[in-house]
Structure formats: C-alpha cells, structure tokens
Assembly symmetry: none
Homo-oligomer: 224 residues x 2
DNA sequence: AAAAGCTTTTAACATGTTTTTAGAATTCGT
DNA sequence: ACGAATTCTAAAAACATGTTAAAAGCTTTT
C-alpha cells in the first residue's frame, strides 16, 4: 500500500485530507510541523509528502530543501499545498525540488488524481527501467513494446507473458507460475500452450531475449 | 452567455438571486429540489450551480456528490449557499467537491463577484486542457469538439468517451474502466454498447484517432 | 397529447484475430 | 544414444470486435 505523509500545522486540513486519502486506500501519516515531518519521513520512508507551504517556525520550502539534501529522504515525492494566490510559492516550490503543488481550497478528488499522477509518473519510470534492455521497452499502460524504436504489436497473452518475464530479468519463472499469473488460477490449458506462446514471442521480438531452462521454465535475458 | 442553475427550496431566495443574476447578464435556471436540479443539470449543462446546503429530502452535499459522480455533470462548478454558522458544511462541502461557498445572508454583489471568480478560474484551467492535438480540440465547458477549425457535434456519451480517452493519449483504457467512468458504476449495458459508440465516434472524428487493443480496450492516438 | 427527432441500447450476424490443440520433429541432458 | 522436454507446424476452436438495422428512450416541436 502506498503511504502519504501530511505535514500541516492546521488540524482541520490534516483531518480532511487524511480522511479522503484513507478512503482512497492510502496509508496516512501526519506531522504538525516541519521538524516532526522530517523525522517521520526518515523513519517511515513514505511514497509521497503533502507539504503545507505556510507554516510557523519552518516553512514548507525549507522543509523541502532539507528533505532533498538528505540521502535518506531525497527520493521522496513532494507535493506542496499552497493558498490560492501564492504564485511565488509555486516557483520557489519547484525550485526547492517539489514534484507538484495543489492550491487551496483543495478539492479532494483533484488532490487524489494529482497524487496518483505523481506516483504513476515515478512508477512508470521504474517499469521502463526494470523491463528494459537497450533495445527493448515495454510499457504496460500503453500496451506497447518497442524494439530499436520500432513498435511491435503483441496480442494480449503474448504481451502479458513478456511483461511477466521481463519484470525480473534473469529470474526463471516456472511453468506453473506463468500459468497462474498470465492465464489465471484454475484455468486449465494444455501442456503445449505456453510453448507456443513463447515461440511466437521469439518470432516477433527475436529469439535471443527468452531463454529456456529445460525442466523448469523460462527467463528473460536483459541484453546490455 | 453563461448559465447558472439555482437549486434551493425557498422561492424567495430563488427569486432574489435569479433577478440579480439575470440583471448581470447570466442565463438563469432554477430547481426546487435536488432531484429536479440534477435532471436539469444533465440536460442543460449549466456553467455553474448555486446549491443550497439545507434542503428537505436530499441535502446539498448529497446533490453535489451525485453531480460529481456522473461524468456528464462532474465538470460543472458548484458553489454552496450556507447559513451563517454552518461551519461544518464548509468542510463537508469541499469534501463533496464544491468550488466555493457563500454564506447567507447573501449580498448579491458579493455573490456575483464570487461567481465571476469561479468561472474565470475555470476558463483558465480549461484552456490548457482543451487543445489536445494539433488537429483536434476538445472543450469540456462548451461540450464542443473541433477538427481543423470545423466544429463537430457529438452527443453526450460519445463526447464523454472521447474526452476520457483523450485525457491520456496513448494510454489504454480497458472496457470495464470505460464503462465505470462514462456510464457509471453499477450500470449494466450490453456487450456491444461501447463498440457502437466507438464506431460512431470514428465515423465523426475520423477512424485514425482511436485505436483498438484487442482483448484490452481502446486508446486515443495523439496525431502530431 | 401526438408527432418528429435525436440519442442510446440491443441483438444478430460477419469478420478477423487470438488462443488452443495435437502430432511430428527436434533438442538437450544424462 | 535414449528418453523426456521443448519446438514447430498447421488446423480447429474460441473469442473479441465491427457492422447493421431496428427498437427503446428521451426531448422538443407542433
């Protein structure tokens, strides 16, 4: 589950945002000021921090700069909460390393969709990196496989199979696991079904990417 | 001309507000309760709804949530009318997706300036979102699609479908998601309903914009 | 209140693609 | 070289989508 840390001095805001984010399935952490927020961020390593710009003692900009300067928190996504016409803070915020900002009054639905967008952005990048060899890219969202810039059309099962194998290059996936994941538990298909799919995948993306481990299963080779 | 829907059970309020808004050049629609209001909103697609929080049967919060949950009304701006010390309603109101609120007793001049502010804000936002590809523009506010300067009339469902797909070009939307978003959760329609809508969309905007991913769903292609 | 016009949904059928199967050929490890 | 596992091939079966026309729902007009 994705976790979100809210840093805001106003209890009302913390409550409303917390309520809405929990409802959407996020794990919620809260802090009432910058110092506390940084401590929690270090300890809990949340996926994203919602950070109020205007706070007494230490403002959001400062907090963000501190987060960015520590290696244990530098990677955490930060989204600023700003009052409507604090235009300057948007600029200063991005400057300080924010990923996005949302203006008050905050509409929960807007906020949630922005949060999802930020998190998706980062997970996309990872997907691309992890399932990417120099020549091959796999984009689950767009359902597209690219080889040396040329996009290759793959039908659903072949795509799912490739995406699974490529999700952990070098790891051997055994036939039962592949069947469960790509076909679904309980679905019974003949012995040769996987083979045929692998064959056609090799035909389309090139045979060098998928290696057979006889008696066990298949693995994706990340060609450097 | 910008249109405003007033939903309030008290005839006095409807009359006073209606009179003032007409004088300011708005087109005014009225409804005496939530159900009627939602119907009118769907049919007339007003630019903004003034929504009384305290009403018998269905209160404003509920009405607003319903409006937000339907794709055909989700984009309409909502401004709550609240009694002076209903503080909680401000919180619950934003929670339900309101854009602003005005406390009674309402001073017409204040209300008009608030309304102008909301509409101005929204038209700014929409401009950014509306031009999605060079050839095709989609304006949620006006419910208009333009292709190379020529405006194309699309019925509601087709428009919503296009707007959804175009909201993230290249991304594949699966059939379940499309059904949930455009038709609504729990609404059951036949298997071929989406296809037929896609077909007619392609007929009107050109077949090259919407691509089928067999077994998965559809995606919008952003032609450069 | 009926008629005319749209929009939306349904249903039946056509089409083309994907998935599965099965047998023969081949490969691989021991 | 032997046997088990995998690949290859082609055809059958299953499936998803496209296409049409008509029916069912709405709104607006008369």
């Amino acid at each position: 589950m994705e976790s979100i840390l809210i840093i805001d001095d106003e209890a009302d805001i913390r409550d409303i945002l917390g309520y809405n984010l929990k409802k959407e399935g996020f794990q919620v952490l809260t802090a009432t000021n910058g110092i506390e927020g940084i401590k929690i961020a270090e300890r809990e390593n949340p996926d994203l921090i919602l950070l109020d710009v205007m706070m007494p003692d230490m403002d959001g900009i400062e907090v963000c700069q501190l987060l960015r300067s520590k290696s244990s928190t530098a990677h955490i996504k930060v989204c600023f909460l700003t009052a409507r016409n604090e235009d300057y803070s948007q600029i200063a915020g991005f400057d300080a390393g924010a990923d996005d900002y949302v203006s008050k009054p905050i509409k929960p639905k807007v906020l949630v969709s922005r949060i999802r967008a930020i998190l998706r952005r980062s997970s996309d990048e990872q997907t691309v990196n992890s399932s990417l060899s120099d020549a091959l890219t796999i984009d689950r969202d767009k359902y597209v496989v690219t080889k040396k810039g040329e996009s290759i059309h793959l039908p659903k099962k072949e795509f799912e199979l490739l995406a699974l194998l490529a999700s952990e290059p070098e790891k051997v996936f055994d036939r039962d696991f592949i069947l469960e994941t790509v076909w679904g538990t309980g679905i019974i298909v003949g012995d040769r079904t996987i083979d045929v799919h692998v064959r056609r995948l090799r035909e389309k993306i090139g045979p060098e990417y998928i290696k057979t481990i006889k008696g066990v299963g298949y693995k994706f080779i990340d060609l450097q």
